[in-house]
């Protein structure tokens, strides 16, 4: 299920801020590409989505090709969710990009040590967000060859 070249895939964004969710979807929409953006609002919902548990038990979703993860979220924060994902052999291959307002040394270091693919700070200007979203989308869709499912972490 992870994406291959040319195929469209789902980007799952864990973000508790409604404004940021709106801005992100609008930014991606500027590109009018086929990648779908789905939102969850905190770490718990993210894990339920990925494991088809809780609200998602009735309607299981396919695994996303990329996870955009905010760090500062209610219930379960980004770093803990990241650790859970990387512990799970079914989920550990999904690339996780941390997208947050923080730029402190400790957050950067712990994100990478937990296995984040990248650490990005939310840009202030909308046009910067547009280019960032499009670069992210292109990179994980077209440039990176991800292993087929069943690969080991």
């Amino acid at each position: 299920m992870p994406a291959n070249r040319g195929q469209s895939f789902t980007i799952l964004m864990a973000e508790d801020d409604a404004d940021d969710r709106l801005l992100a979807s609008e930014a991606l929409a500027e590109r009018r590409d086929s990648n779908k953006l789905v939102f969850v609002e905190d770490g718990c919902e993210l894990l339920e989505y990925l494991r088809s548990e809780g609200d998602y038990a009735a309607h299981p979703r396919s695994l996303p090709g990329l996870i955009l993860l905010d760090l500062n979220m209610p219930r379960m924060n980004g770093l803990e969710a990241l650790a859970r994902i990387k512990e799970d052999s079914r989920l550990c291959l999904i690339p996780v990009v941390v997208l947050t307002t923080s730029n402190t040394e400790t957050d950067i270091v712990s994100s990478y040590s937990l296995g984040a693919a990248s650490f990005l700070t939310k840009p202030a200007a909308y046009k910067d967000l547009v280019s960032m979203m499009s670069i992210l989308s292109d990179y994980w869709t077209d440039l990176v060859q991800l292993p087929n499912s069943g690969g080991q972490c």
């Binding site: 404004d19 801005l23 923080s102 200007a125 967000l129």
Partner: protein, 502 residues
């Protein structure tokens, strides 16, 4: 004047008593020996008198023998006896005798002369060749009466000598009594004095001991007080450090969280402008102003974050080559240096223990400041001088090596009344349209210098450029010195530095 103690006074008194008694004893002993001499002399005189008396008796007997029996031997005996009498008289004369026996002795002598029928004994030349008087002139009763008179005179003399002797004996006894009294007095007083002295000394020693104990207790109490004060100070110092850190953390977190809504304002403003900019017509100017104000606020918050980060997120001090830092800064500023045609002259800079990032920020801010505020009439010049010197640090009471760095420009300068204001965050002396910037640069510089336990001041005159003086310790005792406990009151080091210079 040294205070005379009780036991010292006692010692002096005892010594005085002993000396006095020694004098009395010596005087008494002298008197005793004198008396003994006088007694001895009196005895000798008595013996001489008796011998003389027996010699005069011999004269009487030998005269009678000669006159009655015409005995030649008797004449010889008579002559010998007369010689003995004369000898005795001479001996008495040479003896020392006291006043009241003198008259009696003179009387004794004249009786002897009468008996010998001479007016003076000196008439009798020796060897005596005279003969006894003739029978016609010789009178038994007269001679007998004379002898009787001589005997009674002798008895009288003996009696007065007896009185004298007994009085002398009394004197002797008195002297002996005096001596024994003196000796026993000295002994008693000496023992008493020594006993009192011992007691006084013991008391004085005990008092001294007590004082020492009290002194020790007071010293201990003082030390305890100092220790408790130190502990209290350390506690309040820690409290201050903690609250200071909390404030810095607060500033850091607040400025971080303030960025968040601002980012949204900017992003949605961009969206509004992109989607409906055309529809707004000339009203889009309001939107532009809003956006630029928001951008400016974002910059201010960014600077505030930077400012609080100097101490909120510090790096450890390391050996930093300021030459390398300066080279990097000049490279970064190359474009603006060339654009303003500024000439930069720099002394070689030393290596110091510091936070390299902050040193870079410090030099960058100071030099870009110098390039920014150039005067239109002059070719911009920036001079960077450096020298190291020993300055005494009040907190440690020791000399420490410091770097004194000057960044001097020939720009527009400023009024000296603003020398402190320029270091306050977001304080500006010029409008934003004249010179760009948020006004955080110099505040940041001062904060960096203070974090390094140094000082930063400026001196300037309008139109004559500005001289920024940076004083930084070359070494730090601990790798990362806390600013809260180490920073000095402003001006301390610079005053010191000026004293050294003059």
């Amino acid at each position: 004047m040294p205070k005379i103690r009780y036991w010292q006074l006692l010692f002096l008194l005892t010594a005085l008593v002993i000396i006095l008694n020694v004098v009395v004893v010596i005087y008494s002993l002298a008197r005793v020996s004198q008396t003994q001499d006088a007694v001895q002399q009196a005895r000798q005189i008595m013996m001489t008198i008796r011998a003389t008396y027996s010699a005069i008796q011999d004269v009487e007997i030998s005269e009678r023998d000669y006159l009655l029996w015409n005995n030649e031997d008797a004449q010889q005996i008579y002559r010998d006896s007369v010689a003995k009498v004369v000898e005795g008289v001479q001996r008495i004369r040479t003896s020392q005798y006291d006043g009241h026996t003198f008259a009696k002795l003179v009387g004794f002598e004249s009786l002897l002369m009468r008996r010998l029928h001479v007016s003076s004994l000196d008439e009798l030349s020796f060897p005596y060749a005279g003969t006894p008087s003739s029978l016609e002139t010789w009178s038994i009763p007269e001679n007998a009466a004379l002898l009787q008179e001589i005997r009674s005179t002798i008895l009288d003399i003996e009696q007065s000598y007896g009185v004298l002797l007994s009085s002398r004996n009394g004197e002797l006894e008195a002297s002996e009594r005096n001596i024994s009294i003196a000796v026993s007095l000295v002994t008693t007083l000496g023992v008493l004095g020594i006993a009192l002295m011992y007691r006084a000394l013991k008391r004085s020693l005990a008092r001294q001991q007590r004082w020492e104990t009290e002194l020790l207790q007071q010293k201990q109490a003082l030390e305890d007080m100092v220790a408790s004060r130190t502990a209290a100070l350390q506690f309040s110092n820690r409290e201050l450090e903690r609250s200071n850190r909390e404030l810095e953390d607060f500033a850091f977190i607040a400025s971080h969280d303030l960025q968040e809504p601002l980012r949204k304002i900017l992003a949605f403003g961009d969206r509004l402008k992109a989607r409906s900019g055309d529809a707004l017509g000339e009203n889009v100017d309001y939107l532009n102003r809003m956006q630029s104000a928001a951008a400016r606020m974002s910059m201010l918050i960014q600077d505030l974050l930077e400012f609080s980060r100097v101490t909120a997120k510090p790096k450890e001090f390391e050996q930093v080559s300021l030459n390398a830092v300066l080279a990097g800064v000049l490279e970064d500023l190359e474009e603006s240096i060339n654009a303003s045609k500024t000439s930069i002259r720099a002394d070689p800079l030393p290596d110091i223990q510091a936070d390299s990032t902050q040193m870079r920020q410090l030099l960058l801010n100071l030099i870009s400041n110098a390039i920014k505020f150039v005067s239109v009439e002059k070719t911009p010049e920036v001079r960077i001088t450096a020298n190291t010197k020993l300055l005494s640090v009040p907190a440690t009471l020791s000399d420490q090596e410091f770097l004194e760095l000057h960044v001097i420009d020939n720009g527009i300068g400023f009024d000296s009344k603003y020398t402190e204001r320029i270091f306050t965050p977001f304080q500006r002396l010029h409008s934003r349209s004249e010179y760009t910037g948020t006004g955080i640069g110099l505040a940041l510089c001062r904060r960096i210098v203070e974090r390094h336990s140094g000082e930063l001041i400026a001196s300037s005159k309008v139109g004559h450029g500005t001289d920024f003086t940076v004083i930084l310790p070359v070494r730090h005792e601990s790798p990362d010195v806390d600013t809260a406990s180490e920073s000095l009151p402003p001006g301390t080091l610079l005053q010191e530095s000026n004293q050294h210079a003059s």
